[in-house]
C-alpha cells in the first residue's frame, strides 16, 4: 500500500521511511504541513486524500465535531505498550469525542523564546520582545500560540477562560493591543521553522518566539543562540496520530504508528525533529548533546511551569483569527 502521510517537517526522516518501506513493503508519500493546513486540507477533502495525519492533540476534538474529518482509532491495532502511559492517557482523554478515541501521541515539545544571548541577553519573557533595545530585530509567528504566550506573560490565564467566551474576548483584546503596539519592533512574522532559523542565523533577527528544537539546532551553529523557557512558562504541545475519515490505507497507517513508536526509531525521529517522543524509552538512545541542551533550557521549575494546551473549544478560533488579522493590518 501507499501510505499518504500528512505531517510536520522532520517527523518522517528519509532513513526511517526507507527502513519502514523495506520492512513492510508499503511506500510512503509525505506531505509536510502545519495544524491549520492539515485541518483545512482534510476539511476540503472531507477527510480524504491522506491516510494518516499528525495534528496537535488540542486541535482534534473541535474540528472533528465540526467537520467529521477523522475516524475513530481501533486501539486493538496499536501496540499501546510502546507509549509512555501518562501521555497516552492524557491524549486519549483530550481527543475523545462521543466516546470514541481519535488520537494517540507522537512527538511533544514546547514553544518559548529563541534568543541570541550575545545580542539580546535581556529577553526573558514574551513581552520582552517589545523592548526598545531589540527594535526591528524581533520575529514571531502570527498564530494562536503567540496570543496565548503573550497573555500568560501579561499575567492573564487564557486557558482558564476557554470556557467563557466573554472573558476570553477580554483577554484577547488586551493581547491584541499589546501586539499592535509591539508591531514596530517586528522585522517580519515568520511562518516556517527554517525561515526563522535563516533569520536568526544571519543575525537579521536576535530574539524570537519559537519552538524549543529550533533554538537547540541553532545552538549547534552559533553557541550564543539558544532556547529560553520564558518566565511566564513555556507552552507545551503534543502532536498526535489521527486517521482521516476516508483514508484508504488504515493498515499501513497502524503499521507506521507501531513502527515509529519503537524506541530506536523514536530516537531517530528525535534526532531529526529535535523533539522528544511519547515512545516509552525513546529518549534512551537520544544523543547526549540534545539532552544536555534540553536540561540547560529546562531546569525543574521551568518544566513544572510548562503550560499544556487544553483542547480548543469550537468557536474560539474565529475570534482569535479576527484578532490576528487586525494585528496584521495595524500600522
Amino acid at each position: 500500500d501507499t501510505l499518504r502521510l500528512l505531517t510536520w517537517g522532520g517527523y518522517a526522516p528519509d532513513d526511517v521511511i526507507a527502513m519502514f518501506e523495506e520492512q513492510t513493503g508499503h511506500t510512503v508519500e509525505v506531505t509536510k504541513s502545519n495544524n491549520e493546513e492539515m485541518i483545512a486540507k482534510l476539511r476540503a477533502t472531507n477527510g480524504g486524500g491522506f491516510d494518516l495525519a499528525q495534528p496537535s492533540q488540542d486541535r482534534i476534538a473541535g474540528p472533528q465535531a465540526e467537520f467529521g474529518i477523522y475516524k475513530p482509532l481501533d486501539m486493538s491495532k496499536i501496540e499501546t505498550g510502546l507509549f509512555i502511559p501518562s501521555m497516552l492517557e492524557a491524549t486519549k482523554g483530550n481527543t475523545t469525542v462521543e466516546g470514541e478515541v481519535y488520537a494517540v501521541p507522537h512527538v511533544w515539545g514546547t514553544s518559548g523564546l529563541v534568543v541570541n544571548t550575545a545580542m539580546a541577553g535581556d529577553v526573558k519573557d514574551y513581552t520582552d520582545l517589545c523592548n526598545d533595545d531589540v527594535a526591528g530585530k524581533v520575529s514571531y509567528r502570527l498564530k494562536r500560540p503567540t496570543l496565548i504566550g503573550f497573555a500568560f506573560s501579561m499575567g492573564l490565564d487564557p486557558f482558564a477562560a476557554y470556557g467563557d467566551e466573554a472573558a476570553y474576548k477580554e483577554i484577547l483584546d488586551q493581547v491584541e493591543a499589546k501586539l499592535t503596539e509591539c508591531k514596530a519592533n517586528v522585522k517580519t512574522y515568520w511562518d516556517g521553522g527554517d525561515e526563522l532559523k535563516n533569520l536568526m542565523r544571519s543575525g537579521e533577527v536576535v530574539a524570537s518566539m519559537a519552538w524549543d528544537t529550533g533554538g537547540w539546532q541553532l545552538n549547534d551553529d552559533n553557541a550564543d543562540i539558544t532556547f529560553v523557557a520564558p518566565a511566564a512558562g513555556a507552552l507545551g504541545w503534543i502532536d498526535t496520530f489521527a486517521l482521516p475519515a476516508r483514508g484508504r490505507a488504515d493498515d499501513a497507517a497502524y503499521d507506521w504508528i507501531n513502527f515509529v513508536m519503537q524506541p530506536e526509531i523514536a530516537a531517530m525521529i528525535t534526532a531529526s525533529a529535535g523533539n522528544f517522543t511519547a515512545s516509552q524509552g525513546g529518549d534512551a538512545n537520544v544523543d547526549d548533546a540534545l539532552k544536555a541542551k534540553y536540561q540547560a533550557s529546562f531546569p525543574q521549575e521551568a518544566i513544572d511551569n510548562i503550560k499544556w494546551y487544553p483542547s480548543v473549544p469550537a468557536g474560539l478560533e474565529a475570534m482569535e483569527g479576527a484578532a490576528l488579522d487586525r494585528i496584521n493590518a495595524a500600522n
Partner: protein, 284 residues
C-alpha cells in the same frame, strides 16, 4: 521600423539606457536565482561560499541535490501530468470554440463570447475556491444520496486539471481564433470544389493551417499550467504539483536546492519558449 524621425543624440542615448536598464531589471532576479544554485552554502543568500554542484547531484544531508530529492522529482512528474492534460483539453476545447465563434452565427453569440472571456477577469484564487466549494457540495450531495465516495470531486489532481483548464481554455481559444480568423474560407471551398467531403476539407486544409496556432496554444497552456499557483493551491490534494511543493519549501526557508530546480525550470521553459517561437515563425 521608423527610420526617418530625427531625434537628438541625448534623447536616443537616454532611451537606449532606459531599455538596457529595463532588461537588466527583467533578468536580475532570475540570474540571481541561477547563480545561487551553485553556492556552497545551505542558505540561498550571501555570503558566497564557493562553487558546488551539490544542489543538483548531492545525496548527503543537508546537501541533497534535485536529482536525489524524491518529493521534488515526484512533484515535477505531477506537474507534467497536469500540464499534459490541461493543454490537451484546452487545445481541444479552444479549437472547438474557435470554429464556433469564427464560423457560426447564432443567437446569443455575443453573450457567450463575453462569458468565454470571463475567466480572464476572475482572479485565479476565486476560480479555485468556487470550483472547490461547488465540487464539494456536489460530492456531499451525491454521497448523501448514494452512500458511495466521489473522490474525483474532492481536491486532487482531477480538480487541479479542471481548475487550470477553466481559464487556460480562454487563452487557447483566443490564440486559435485569431489564426482561424485569418483563414481564407475559399481554401475550404476550393477543397470541396475539388471533391473533398466537408469534414475532409477541414481536415486537409483548415486543420493544417491551424496546427501552428494549436501548437503555440499548447505550449502556452503547458507554461501557464506549470506556473499556476493561485488556482492550484485551492484544489490540490495529496499530490502536489511543483509550484505548490516549492511554495511549501520556500515558506519553511530552504536550501539552494530550490535554486537548482528553478535553474532547471528556466532551461526547460526557455527551450519550450523557443519551440513555440519557431512554431509561430512558421505560421507567418
Amino acid at each position: 521600423m521608423i527610420t526617418g524621425i530625427p531625434q537628438s543624440g541625448a534623447f536616443k542615448w537616454t532611451y537606449r539606457a532606459y531599455v538596457t536598464l529595463f532588461f537588466l531589471y527583467l533578468a536580475l532576479p532570475l540570474a540571481t536565482v541561477c547563480v545561487f544554485a551553485f553556492n556552497d552554502s545551505v542558505f540561498p543568500s550571501l555570503p558566497w561560499e564557493g562553487f558546488t554542484w551539490a544542489w543538483f547531484f548531492g545525496d548527503e544531508a543537508p546537501y541533497v541535490g534535485v536529482f536525489n530529492e524524491r518529493p521534488i522529482l515526484r512533484s515535477v512528474v505531477t506537474s507534467g501530468v497536469v500540464a499534459f492534460w490541461v493543454s490537451l483539453l484546452a487545445v481541444f476545447v479552444g479549437t472547438c470554440n474557435a470554429f464556433l465563434f469564427v464560423r457560426h452565427d447564432f443567437r446569443g453569440k455575443g453573450f457567450l463570447y463575453i462569458l468565454m472571456l470571463l475567466p480572464l477577469i476572475i482572479p485565479g484564487i476565486i476560480l479555485g475556491i468556487s470550483i472547490l466549494v461547488f465540487s464539494s457540495s456536489v460530492a456531499n450531495t451525491l454521497e448523501d444520496a448514494t452512500g458511495l465516495w466521489f473522490d474525483g470531486l474532492r481536491p486532487g489532481l482531477i480538480l487541479v486539471v479542471l481548475g487550470q483548464f477553466s481559464f487556460i481554455t480562454t487563452f487557447a481559444t483566443l490564440v486559435i481564433s485569431a489564426r482561424l480568423q485569418k483563414f481564407d474560407t475559399s481554401l475550404e471551398e476550393a477543397a470541396l470544389n475539388l471533391g473533398a467531403t466537408p469534414f475532409g476539407a477541414v481536415r486537409a486544409v483548415t486543420l493544417p493551417f491551424l496546427y501552428p496556432a494549436m501548437g503555440a496554444a499548447g505550449v502556452v497552456a503547458v507554461l501557464m499550467s506549470f506556473e499556476n499557483f493561485n488556482t492550484t493551491l485551492m484544489l490540490v490534494g495529496s499530490d502536489a504539483p511543483l509550484t505548490i511543493t516549492m511554495f511549501d519549501r520556500l515558506k519553511l526557508g530552504s536550501t539552494p536546492v530550490l535554486n537548482a530546480v528553478s535553474l532547471l525550470l528556466i532551461v526547460v521553459s526557455a527551450l519550450l519558449g523557443l519551440a513555440s517561437l519557431l512554431l509561430q515563425k512558421r505560421e507567418d
